[in-house]
């Protein structure tokens, strides 16, 4: 029903309430079902035995009367009127076997069910409101005592946090060189730095292996790394003209000496 009612959701609360009040003001009814329920009482029978056909007639004449009185009915009242007119014709005409969909009787039965259910909810609401109520029939403690609160903090993290945290770091690593076992890697930069510092102290020809840093001699992995970087650093220093390098024969020790010292 009523597309216009869904527009309400764009409105402010006040506007919405006003819109609702407008509907309620139609003879004090809350929607077409409310009108039907009220009309049904004039039949003075149990809601289960109500004549939906009579009800449809009553409703249609209610709408006609409203029109006469020039009361502007909300769209849903008119939709209901159209639907009841349709239901009336279905109930009066013999069923068309080619017609699909629910029969007039089924539609009428559902309408009766809806009326009964609405009435039941109204009765339930009234009973609920008449129930013993806090602050009216029974009461809570008037003087509630101070409950002091001692705060302690626990920290939490879930698996997702953990995985995202790890993913975050590893993503960062995609963009820079990352060596996990760097502990056993002696870089060329480190070797250069070390040799530059030592150059001034070298006298004559010295075995390049004596330049390996302390603690890098025994572990083969470390020794290899340190040897390679020290050799590379030595080549760099030769290129800079600060160092001389010699080897008497293949597989003989590499020896180096500072050029600065000589000059």
């Amino acid at each position: 029903m009523a597309e216009n009612l869904f527009e309400e959701q764009e409105l402010t609360v006040e506007e919405r309430l006003a819109a609702e009040a407008l509907i309620v003001d139609v003879g004090g009814f809350e929607g077409p079902l409310d009108v039907l329920l009220t009309l049904s009482r004039t039949q003075k029978v149990d809601l289960r035995q109500i004549s939906v056909l009579d009800l449809a007639r009553q409703y249609l004449s209610f709408v006609d009367k409203a029109k006469e009185l020039r009361i502007e009915l909300a769209a849903d009242y008119l939709v209901m009127a159209a639907w009841l007119a349709f239901l009336k014709s279905r109930l009066l005409l013999p069923p068309d076997p080619s017609d699909e969909g629910p029969t007039g009787d089924e539609l009428a039965a559902h309408l009766a069910f809806q009326l009964e259910r609405l009435q039941a909810m109204r009765d339930a609401a009234a009973r609920l409101m008449a129930h013993d109520r806090l602050g009216r029939d029974f009461f809570a403690r008037g003087h509630s005592e101070n409950m002091t609160r001692v705060r302690s903090v626990t920290y939490s993290a879930n698996l997702l946090d953990l995985m995202q945290g790890y993913a975050r770091i590893r993503t960062r690593d995609d963009f820079r060189p990352f060596v996990m076992d760097r502990e056993s890697v002696f870089t060329m930069e480190e070797a250069l730095e070390r040799m530059r510092g030592l150059l001034g102290f070298t006298g004559g020809w010295t075995d390049i292996l004596s330049y390996l840093p302390d603690g890098w001699h025994s572990d083969p992995v470390k020794r290899r790394s340190a040897t390679a970087s020290t050799f590379a650093a030595a080549l760099q220093l030769v290129k800079e003209g600060r160092l001389e390098l010699r080897q008497s024969a293949s597989f003989e020790p590499l020896q180096l000496r500072s050029c600065e010292k000589e000059s």
């Binding site: 909810m121 109204r122 602050g135 509630s144």
Partner: protein, 218 residues
């Protein structure tokens, strides 16, 4: 106080030996008296010494107060002490004026209580008229209803359920104790019967909530 003398044969954990039941009952009594709000069994347990059994203590306490001026009542998962309803007449001074609910709000509240969890479309189906946002807002603000789980139907519309505050206000142990609930159910009046074909009475539009998930969500 036989419990007192009873041998506590639960072994080594004497450090955490629980207090005798009579003592636990006193503790529950003190905590319930001190709080205006219902207190859950879990919270009672958290406040009481390790190994206490607030459930058993509550049962004793409830019996003790039967017929007295105040009663031990259950509110959902929690417990509270409340004055006996027949003595309400003494309390004019304490009576709080509750805001008068509109007819629409009262009906909406009843539909939520009896049909919960219920979507807005279903409320509209029962009332045959659209439910104004203001009505729902008011009930939410009073903390008598709250959002339940989304319904597993297309659009996954939000549902509404009543709160412990609702139960407390109406003196109900649980929503199962709503007056006349059984009869209504037996009569089939709490069923959500889909209308045959297109009845023009509310609620069978494609769920309006579907397009507006923000509608009731904070």
């Amino acid at each position: 106080m036989d419990d007192h003398a009873a041998p506590q044969d639960d072994g080594s954990e004497s450090l955490f030996e629980s207090p005798p039941l009579a003592e636990q009952e006193r503790m529950v009594e003190a905590v319930l008296f001190a709080s205006a709000e219902p207190v859950s069994v879990r919270e009672l347990a958290a406040r009481m010494p390790h190994g206490s059994d607030p459930g058993a203590a509550l049962e004793h306490l409830r019996k003790r107060y039967e017929g007295r001026g105040v009663r031990v009542v259950r509110v959902g998962e929690a417990w509270a002490i409340r004055t006996a309803p027949d003595l309400g007449f003494l309390m004019q001074k304490e009576t709080v004026e509750t805001r008068k609910l509109s007819r629409a709000a009262v009906e909406t509240l009843a539909i939520i209580a009896y049909h919960q969890p219920v979507t807005r479309a279903e409320i509209e189906e029962v009332r045959g008229v659209s439910v104004s946002r203001g009505t729902i807002d008011q009930l939410l603000e009073m903390e008598w209803i709250r959002l339940g789980r989304r319904k597993m139907t297309p659009g996954r519309p939000v549902t509404f359920v009543v709160t412990p505050q609702f139960l407390d206000h109406f003196g109900l142990e649980s929503a199962r104790d709503l007056p006349g609930l059984k009869e209504l159910r037996a009569a089939g009046l709490l069923e959500n019967r889909p209308p045959p074909g297109g009845l023009p009475l509310g609620g069978h539009e494609p769920d309006e909530d579907a397009d507006q998930p923000e509608l009731f969500e904070e």
